[in-house]
């Protein structure tokens, strides 16, 4: 029997200037969910974005300091590589790793926290953009910091703009 958490919906929030939090509830134990987030055999099956994307390369050296690398291929043949380093592995509840999209982007620290209740697992993924220096660097290259700022304000602004 599964609990009554709302499944099928992803929620997005920006609790601080440096964070984006993505939350989802699934009908599975957290030990299974932990595997789907950390084992390449599983990751390649689902963490592949919209229709038409694939992940031809998925490497994960699951230990503190271990490197990970995902290569995404889009329908048009273009590729995108994400890399990072594992910082903390506490199965089945917590996984912390850095994430980088390349030298021109600021690096984020991604914290995955899994909590289980009545057969359901709440997946909370927090993307943190570190320190003021990093934030300033992010402002120079734009993207990630902007995403935070964007999330914080855009929904609100768009109601009047679009």
């Amino acid at each position: 029997m599964h609990g009554t958490g709302r499944t099928g919906v992803t929620s997005y929030a920006t609790p601080t200037d440096r964070e984006v939090v993505v939350t989802r509830v699934v009908n599975a134990s957290r030990s299974l969910v932990f595997e789907t987030f950390t084992d390449p055999r599983h990751i390649q099956q689902w963490m592949i974005g919209p229709e038409g994307w694939t992940m031809p390369v998925c490497e994960m050296d699951l230990r503190p300091g271990g490197a990970w690398r995902y290569v995404y291929r889009k329908a048009d043949g273009s590729e995108m590589t994400l890399t990072g380093r594992c910082l903390e592995i506490a199965a089945p509840e917590r996984f912390v790793a850095t994430e980088s999209w390349g030298p021109e982007w600021p690096e984020s620290i991604n914290t995955l926290v899994l909590t289980e209740h009545a057969g359901q697992t709440t997946i909370t993924m927090t993307l943190t953009y570190p320190s003021r220096e990093a934030r300033d660097a992010a402002l120079k290259t734009g993207m990630k910091e902007g995403m935070d700022q964007g999330f914080a304000r855009l929904d609100e602004m768009l109601k009047t703009l679009v």
């Binding site: 099928g8 989802r24 699934v26 599975a28 789907t36 963490m47 592949i48 304000r153 855009l154």
Partner: protein, 118 residues
Amino acid sequence: MRVAADALSTTFFALADPTRRAILSRLADGPATVKELSAPFAMSGPAVSKHLRVLEHAGLIQRGREAQWRPRSLDAAPLKDVVAWAAEFRRFWDASYARLDTYLDRLQQRETRHARHR
């Protein structure tokens, strides 16, 4: 997920300041003069003008030419790129999580079957 990084950087930089966001929100209601835009803020005219220059540089506001006091108005086009990018982040995770739901179901059915055969 990389789209027009440089233009986006400029837009993000412009949006990163609360005063500038407040100015944009005000302009969403309609054009306003520099004096009108300065009114809600405890800052000097030159300071407000500096913010306006950043917003202009990002293509977020336009300057009217017809009137002597040159009212500023909002140009939402660059914001749509920002939204498109943020939307892509969401699209990525919405799609991936939808797939995770199906995948977890499949894994659990397989487990149940194995347990029955044991």
